[in-house]
């Protein structure tokens, strides 16, 4: 029973962290169809923002929840303004340019911090289920994962800004005719996606080793989650995270973490073969 409880927490944690790292990408790729291969580096920048600001004496929670998203969001806006803007509609070129960008970010961070592991100490203790101990921080990740997905849904579904964003993605010309600047909507959407990614990177900073190249570990997972989810970004990302996270954690439990990752990737390849449009291409089609 205790074992079942602890496994449930671990599965929830894996699912939530998948959803977290994919949320920003779901906004950028799912809404704007921009393949941002620098996504992993946005995560990395978020994590480093936490390191720098906690070292400067700022409270951990403030640096994670405020400074990191703000910083990466600004980076996102700059990237959209100076690079991505010129490449809308040229999917492959965007893909290559953002890959260049990711190398650039890795290069800059390596030059500043060196190729060494940094770390942030998790501020929370542990709790016990029967004879097993588990870190409270994992519960926090589950909480924040659910929160992020919930907020994205609420904003898109109920707020005026969300309505404008969805409308612009559906038909930019019509939105422009109604007096909205699509350019601005794109910039803001990209910035919001980047900020969410920064938040995810910051939230995961205490549980992963921080390296300039850490982004590569996340990028493939994030992409297959978003693509496996399909058209409807909120439903798609959450169902795909649930599916892949469970596959990953169960395999990890039965064998090793590396095999868990391999199982996740194989599951994704098979899913895409069966459902080329992703989960929401077949199920929950009218959902958001």
């Amino acid at each position: 029973m205790d074992l079942a409880g602890i496994i449930a927490v671990q599965i929830g944690y894996t699912v939530a962290s998948l959803a977290l790292i994919s949320a920003g990408l779901a906004v950028i790729f799912g809404m704007m169809r921009v393949i941002n291969l620098a996504h992993g580096e946005f995560l990395m920048l978020g994590a480093y923002a936490v390191v720098v600001s906690t070292k400067a004496g700022i409270n951990f929670w403030v640096s994670m929840l405020v400074i990191a998203p703000l910083f990466v969001g600004i980076v996102g806006v700059i990237v959209e303004r100076f690079i991505v803007r010129f490449l809308y509609g040229r999917m492959m070129d965007t893909l290559i340019a953002t890959w260049g960008l990711s190398l650039l970010f890795i290069g800059i961070i390596t030059t500043i911090f060196g190729n060494a592991t940094e770390s942030v100490v998790s501020p929370l203790g542990s709790f016990e289920i029967g004879e097993f101990a588990e870190s409270q921080y994992r519960l926090f990740i589950i909480f924040i994962g659910v929160l992020v997905i919930g907020v994205i849904f609420a904003v898109l579904r109920y707020s005026r800004a969300g309505l404008i964003a969805r409308g612009t993605m559906q038909n930019a010309d019509m939105a422009a005719a109604l007096g909205i600047s699509p350019q601005r909507v794109y910039t803001i959407t990209f910035g919001v996606g980047a900020a969410l990614t920064g938040l995810a990177g910051a939230a995961l900073a205490p549980v992963t080793g921080l390296l300039p190249t850490m982004g590569a570990a996340f990028i493939a997972k994030a992409f297959i989650t978003v693509i496996g989810g399909g058209e409807a970004i909120v439903t798609g990302t959450s169902t795909a995270s649930a599916l892949f996270g469970t596959v990953n954690q169960v395999t990890t439990f039965l064998s090793t973490p590396v095999m868990g990752d391999v199982a996740l990737l194989i599951a994704a390849v098979i899913l895409l073969r069966l459902l080329p449009q992703g989960i929401t291409g077949r199920f929950f089609r009218r959902w958001l």
């Binding site: 490449l87 260049g100 650039l104 970010f105 290069g107 390596t110 895409l272 073969r273 080329p276």
Partner: protein
Amino acid sequence: MALRIGIDAQGLSVGRLTPALTGPLALVVAVALVIGILPLVVSDIFILLQLTLFMAYGILAMSLGWVWGYGGIFSFGQAAFYGLGGYTYAVVSINMGGSTAALFAGVAVPALFALFLGYFMFYGRISTVYVAVITLVVSLIFYKFLGHTAGYEYTIGTAHLGGFNGMPALPPINTPGDPMRMIWPEDMFLITGICLLLVYVGLRLLMWSSFGRAVAAVRENEIRAELLGYDTRLYKMATFGVGGAVAGLAGVLYANWNSYVSPTVFDLGFSAQIIIWVVVGGLGTLVGPLVGAMILGFVTIELGTQQTVDVNLILGVILVLFVLAVPEGVTAQVRNLYARLVERVPGQGGA
């Protein structure tokens, strides 16, 4: 995309010695001469070794030039076939002692795997972008899995896969019929050079064949090609398979050059480098990727010798600038410049 004009016009002029044919022919002769003479002139083994590596990279770049530039299939996982070729060569050569069989296996296994993956993707009608992501994921699976094989249960025959430590001390290719003859670096340089020429000529001929033109048709307009009666899925699968074989050959040559393979051949950064070579050299041409691989291989190594700036930083800047400013790549620029110069010369214009 506008990048791809120019190939088909060449294909139409087979048979006569038109500029379209003289260009590649002159190139082959020139490169053959350079490869033949260089080992006699250059006494510095280090330079020859360096060039051998760049030529292996060049073959790899051409495989992506074929699959992506000519076939229109964006493969993020060319490194997967390259690495698979290297690993197959390693396993077979360790089991059989150095032999040419390992070379053939190192080409055949990635080719078959590419056909299998191609069947999976193209018969599933997965769209271009998702093909990119699946190929990326596949090379990642290899990377993770082979990094995980340090335990002794991961042994094929007498070959131990070795996890992140890789497989050292691979026996080199040897002469068929005379296995005791040593292969010197000069020989390796020649072998790699000959492979490079063969791959170039082979792919060029393939582009000019009716198969090659059908591949171009599928790239330009898949629906139209299908309505004309071509099974586009089959053509794409075959294109992908050829690309896999060529990349596998590059991997075999690399494993020979290094006498060592490790999971880093499946690294995402390496996959990205191949794409950079093609983009910088010129998408849609065959020489372009080759030139790109040579230039950037050289630049990367030169940059590696200095400590002030990180290599990734510079590669990243190069890539972003090229996509924004020179999307056609170096070779198209040179060709345009040449065309403009020729037009200026009186009497030769308008030919």
